[in-house]
Amino acid sequence: MVDPVANDASPDGAVPTLLAADLQDHLMTASNDLDRLQRLLADATSTLLQHFHGLSQQIEQLHEQLDAGVDPLAFEQALRWLSGAVVALQFQDMAAQLISHTDRRLRSCADRLARDALADDEDGTAVTLPAPLRPNPVTQDEIDAGSIELF
């Protein structure tokens, strides 16, 4: 936590310094939590993908054994489950984009607080990360997900 400073107004009198420091701290904590979430997601996805590839190889072997009595309906169902897994595994990409975008927005807010509400430190004026200019790129509604348009 940031050490409490005098509960004075910021240099331009706009935001109390203590409040600004506290807000900045919360924003950075939230940002760090998102970083950890990103890593958790990546690790979980990596494990899921290993299992996915293992399973698909097993199913491929079943395909080769269809003549040996493997139930073709069961094989077809297994393929459908696999297809569903391909759709579901794409969530990591979309989730990662959402997290990254939100993280940049939080860090930008924290940097602006540091720049505008808190005094410069001995290193000079704080360098701020610009906020994302566009809305979150993962913007599709349910109705758009999976849509295909040929021009």
Partner: protein
């Protein structure tokens, strides 16, 4: 055998795209972003390019424009597979020369279907 250049900065997406395309009998070359894709396209031909939009170094629309400026890729089908679904972005893709716009997550069967419609 048809060859597809699959472009996405997400490793998990590249794996899912490659898995789907290879199971359908395509040869797949992966690229991690638009710049990587451009460098790979400079050394060989592809029957189709399937690219994400939001990527570092070079995004999908910029890659599309660059490919269309090259005579070798003037008529190559280029599909953009992205989380973006706004009409504004779709129009930018269309204006850049994209053949189609697919919104993630893709369904493997439908992806193979649309590729079958456009690939040469």
């Amino acid at each position: 055998m048809h060859s597809i250049l699959a472009v996405d900065d997400s490793a998990s997406m590249r794996q899912m795209v490659s898995f789907t395309l290879k199971n359908a009998g395509f040869t797949v070359v992966e690229a991690v972003d638009g710049q990587d894709a451009w460098e790979k396209a400079s050394t060989r031909d592809f029957n189709l390019v399937l690219t994400d939009q939001n990527m570092p170094r070079m995004d999908g629309i910029s890659l599309t424009k660059k490919l269309r400026e090259n005579a070798r890729f003037k008529t190559t089908p280029i599909l953009i597979l992205t989380t973006e679904s706004s009409d504004e972005m779709k129009q930018k893709g269309r204006a850049a020369g994209a053949t189609g716009w697919l919104v993630k997550p893709f369904d493997p069967t439908k992806l193979i279907e649309v590729i079958g419609k456009v690939i040469r």
